[in-house]
């Protein structure tokens, strides 16, 4: 099972999802992120899904759950790089992903986390 690496840069944790993730890997990511948030006291999480071609309801709900978990640790999550085709599909599925913020790319995501608009 592939484990998604989590990078830390300052107060922010970076996760870049590069491959077609199996359900177990996503669940593992949730666990690993929770561990890291506690260990590093990070205040922000950026999840880069630029390379992700398919987000179905399970993965969508997992991403939303990551957002809720982060909030419990007083951290904010920003989902960046969603592809237009994925966004259109998610909207059709009725998933609004309210617990995460979104941005076009990691740079804009960081700006969001740092409070400037």
């Amino acid at each position: 099972m592939e484990r998604v690496p989590i990078l830390r840069i300052g107060p922010t944790l970076f996760v870049s999802i590069q491959i077609d993730l199996q359900d177990q890997s996503v669940l593992q990511l949730q666990e690993d992120l929770a561990d890291q948030l506690v260990a590093t006291r990070a205040t922000g999480v950026i999840i880069d899904i630029t390379a992700v071609e398919i987000v179905d309801s399970f993965i969508g709900r997992m991403l939303a759950t990551i957002g809720s978990i982060s909030r419990l640790f007083d951290a904010e999550t920003v989902l960046v790089g969603m592809r237009p085709a994925v966004a259109i599909t998610l909207v059709e599925l009725g998933l609004s992903l309210d617990t995460v913020r979104t941005a076009l790319n990691a740079e804009q995501g960081l700006r969001l986390l740092n409070g400037s608009s």
């Binding site: 077609d20 993730l21 398919i54 179905d56 059709e92 599925l93």
Partner: protein, 131 residues
């Protein structure tokens, strides 16, 4: 025509990848490909988790109106669905009655056919046609 076994989480990924590969060659637009593969992912997972494992058949097909496209059929010999109508109630904001993601998958495809009876397993056939 491909038939794939769905017996693990890795198989769900495999189904996604196979449908995506076939879709890429079938003349479907990128958005339509994404919708089909996403629907296939939902249904493959259902077959695994609710159906106790099953199979997926991916084939190129032509619609009644003569358009080229793809049909994917999922079968499992699980417990079956007692209330098919409830499972398919379309709630865009609330999801379907049984949380199976069926109404969502149905919205993503052009054709959706579900056959299920308690004790007789479930079969879902979906199709997406090029425009």
């Amino acid at each position: 025509m491909d038939e794939l076994l769905i017996e693990s989480g890795d198989d769900v990924v495999r189904v996604r990848q196979r449908v995506r590969a076939v879709a890429a060659d079938s003349g479907l637009s990128l958005v339509d490909q994404t919708k089909l593969v996403t629907a296939a992912s939902e249904l493959a997972r259902n077959a695994l988790i609710h159906g106790g494992g099953g199979t997926a058949r991916v084939e190129l097909a032509t619609s009644a109106a003569g358009r080229a496209g793809i049909r994917v059929t999922f079968s499992d010999s699980g417990p079956g669905i007692a209330d098919v109508d409830l499972a398919l109630t379309d709630g865009w904001t609330t999801g379907d009655g049984l949380g199976l993601g069926l109404s969502g998958a149905r919205r993503l495809v052009d054709e959706f056919e579900l056959v299920s009876k308690p004790g007789q397993g479930t079969s879902v056939a979906v199709a997406k046609w090029s425009r």
